[in-house]
């Protein structure tokens, strides 16, 4: 008997979605992630739930996919989504004919639009460029990608899936032309082991090309870097897009207490994918283009720059590799390459992850002759099930806003109500929950689950406390080999500060330089003690 029916490689949104769908259909499922969940492109994007309008003119298939999934996710992932709506604004230099065609194509794709005069648009969003010549309102929304991944992982687990983070796939187990499982290394303990399954699903994003090679198949991928900037507060309450052919820095998304502008699109070599950084030139470009959408961005503090890598796939029909498929790419390597037991799912978008998971799970079920329909379009994610909550304190209400009805599983008794991160209103109970239920082991994991340290202070105020609380919980839960909370907290802090610094360096001027100096004065010289 195999250990599992399916092993999913990759803890991004695609892998998390596939693992959840498979687990719900009753497959014995394991997800393996070499780092932490949403550490790749899934955590390094705008946080935009596309309406599909952006693709309406050039890619009608993606547009139709997006609006369909957008409407589904508003129901089943409600607690991850802020229903901001979106505007596509036209500036004097933009072709007015584009807008007319845009509205027509949106209509054909089933995306509802409302054409607005400049005055109507400014009444909705007073901070947009007053020189606009018109705007179109569309059903874009903001989505917290970290929470979306985390909720999928949690639900996969609740349906019996096993989740292994910090486990790198060293190789695939093969017998002749069949993939039989994975050989993994536990990055925490160094232990190497083999796990067998009927199917291995490659959902590793840009790193999928590497995994495919282990199976002896080639997926021609083109890593495309997208850089983004985070601003210190919300400069708008709707998603603001530019109504023109998609280009650099033409989407501004309000997310929680900050705003994000992006993105760029540049080919990068594979060697860079593990250590993405943003250059000053990219920052300037993003700022200059972003200020055309909302001029006040020029005077708004930039708190961070980051970049993700899109896993673009060359079209199989084009041997030159130049023609890129932007849509969902599901590869059945049995029919494509003659390698059995191995499936790759890549391409696509955050917005279409559920559909990607459905297509993958459908294929696996067909292969295993299992007749179970997909239910993820109806079943709400944990937190979005409309269960009644009783939230009396501000900390509880903030936790409810992030985790929805999962707040009922947090313990706010005694110390639980204690506030840890003031910007994002994260309390000890939520941190405890994140450690016990969401696999948090480091401060960076905690940031991705709870938004600790992601607000305007960027952890300069809450870091000591967050590190100590996390250390205490890890030790109490016997999840750390360290016995002293002080030592563990210092180590957690050091690792976190270095990661955060990478995002600060490209935007270190103005107000942010004052903050950087403060951060260095407070934490930079005491890296061994708390």
């Amino acid at each position: 008997m195999k250990d599992y029916d399916v092993i999913v490689i990759g803890g991004g949104i695609t892998g998390a979605g596939v693992a959840r769908d498979c687990a719900i259909r009753g497959l014995r499922t394991l997800l393996v992630e070499r780092a932490d969940i949403s550490e790749g492109a899934s955590g390094r994007n705008h946080g935009l739930l596309h309406s599909g309008a952006r693709y309406a003119v050039n890619d009608s298939e993606s547009a139709r996919e997006c609006i369909k999934e957008n409407l589904i996710l508003r129901r089943v992932a409600a607690h991850c989504i802020e229903q901001t709506e979106g505007l596509f604004i036209s500036l004097p230099e933009d072709d007015p004919a584009y807008r007319d065609n845009f509205v027509e194509q949106c209509g054909k794709a089933g995306i509802r639009t409302q054409v607005l005069s400049p005055a109507q648009a400014l009444a909705l969003e007073p901070n947009i460029n007053p020189e606009l010549t018109g705007a179109v309102k569309v059903p874009d929304a903001a989505v917290d990608p970290f929470r979306l991944v985390s909720a999928n992982i949690l639900d996969a687990r609740l349906h019996g899936a096993d989740i292994l983070t910090r486990c790198e796939v060293l190789d695939l187990i093969k017998e002749n032309v069949t993939v039989m499982g994975v050989k993994i290394k536990d990055m925490s303990t160094g232990e190497i082991r083999k796990i067998h399954s009927h199917y291995v699903i490659n959902a590793a994003g840009i790193w999928g090309a590497h995994i495919a090679r282990m199976a002896g198949v080639e997926i021609s991928m083109l890593p495309s870097k997208g850089a983004l900037l985070v601003f210190g507060h919300r400069v708008c309450n709707m998603v603001i897009n530019r109504c023109r052919k998609p280009g650099n820095a033409d989407i501004l998304v309000p997310g929680e207490v900050v705003s994000v502008i992006g993105t760029t699109s540049d080919k990068v070599p594979f060697e860079q994918c593990d250590r993405m950084s943003v250059s000053r030139a990219e920052v300037e470009l993003l700022l200059n283009e972003g200020a055309k959408l909302v001029p006040s961005l020029r005077n708004t503090r930039i708190i961070r720059a980051y970049a993700g890598v899109r896993p673009l796939v060359s079209d199989d029909s084009d041997p030159s590799g130049r023609s890129v498929s932007r849509g969902i790419v599901l590869l059945d390597h049995s029919s494509r390459d003659g390698v059995r037991g191995f499936i790759s799912i890549t391409g696509g978008k955050l917005t279409s992850y559920r559909l990607m998971a459905e297509m993958t799970a459908d294929l696996v079920c067909k292969k295993l002759s299992i007749d179970k329909p997909c239910r993820t379009a109806e079943l709400p994610l944990p937190g979005s099930d409309n269960a009644k909550t009783k939230c009396s304190s501000l900390v509880m209400k903030a936790a409810e806003k992030r985790e929805g009805s999962e707040v009922n599983r947090m313990s706010f008794e005694g110390k639980g109500n204690e506030l840890v991160c003031e910007c994002e209103m994260v309390g000890r109970a939520e941190i405890e929950y994140a450690v016990k239920e969401l696999g948090v082991r480091t401060l960076d994991d905690l940031r991705r689950r709870t938004r600790v340290g992601m607000g305007p202070c960027q952890s300069s105020c809450c870091l000591d406390k967050a590190a100590m609380v996390l250390a205490e919980i890890l030790i109490a839960e016997k999840l750390s080999s360290e016995s002293g909370a002080g030592e563990l907290a210092a180590a957690l802090k050091k690792e976190f500060l270095q990661e955060r610094w990478t995002g600060i360096v490209p935007v270190c001027w103005g107000e942010q330089m004052a903050q950087a100096e403060y951060l260095r004065n407070k934490y930079g010289k005491c890296d061994s003690t708390i």
Binding site: R280, V505, W509, G510, A514, A516, E517, G524, D527
Partner: protein, 181 residues
């Protein structure tokens, strides 16, 4: 209003320096952008007879015709009707966090007098990738002559003394100024 010394403060040691001057029988004003209450050092300066302009900042500077001396200052709160005059002005406004130094994308400047600042011309070299090592921007700061006079376009401002950690290369002359002034 006329004083022997006006300290443009905000940085560490501004009130300490003020108290030292008061103890030597000098009259002294301290203009400080911060608004924090319960600051013991500044409160002690006020109690010792210093004139404390808390939550205020320099709005306008009047120079002698050749630009070599400061004649008077106006503050934001008092407005242009009230001139503050001193024999000597001391710039002890701290670094970036206290707004003694400011920066934009490609330059670092001192916002009150436009005094000469030493900084790396290439902004991509302002920080190092390792958070825990000393950062190049921590060495940016004011250049001055041997008597700690501020320079503007390379020329000395005769009655403007630079004090504290606003100086370049990690210097801090508060202690020596307390003795020498």
């Amino acid at each position: 209003m006329r004083f022997d010394y006006i300290i443009i403060g905000g940085g560490q040691g501004d009130a300490l320096l003020g108290r030292e001057l008061l103890s030597k029988g000098k009259s002294c004003a301290l203009i400080c952008q911060g608004r924090q209450s319960g600051d013991n050092s500044r409160e002690a300066f006020r109690k010792a007879g210093g004139c404390l302009f808390m939550g205020d900042s320099v709005d306008k500077v009047f120079y002698s015709e050749d630009g070599s001396r400061i004649e008077a200052l106006c503050t934001e709160n008092l407005g242009s009707g009230s001139l503050l005059v001193a024999d000597t002005y001391i710039l002890c406004s701290g670094r970036f966090f206290t707004r003694g130094l400011c920066s934009d994308m490609d330059k670092v400047y001192e916002p009150v007098f436009g005094a000469d600042v030493q900084f790396e011309a290439d902004p991509s070299l302002w920080c190092r990738s390792d958070f825990f090592c000393r950062q190049p921007f921590e060495d940016f700061g004011l250049v001055c002559d041997e008597g700690f006079h501020a320079l503007k376009n390379g020329k000395q401002i005769e009655n403007l003394i630079v004090a504290g950690d606003i100086l370049c290369n990690g210097q801090n002359n508060i202690e020596s100024l307390c003795k020498s002034l």
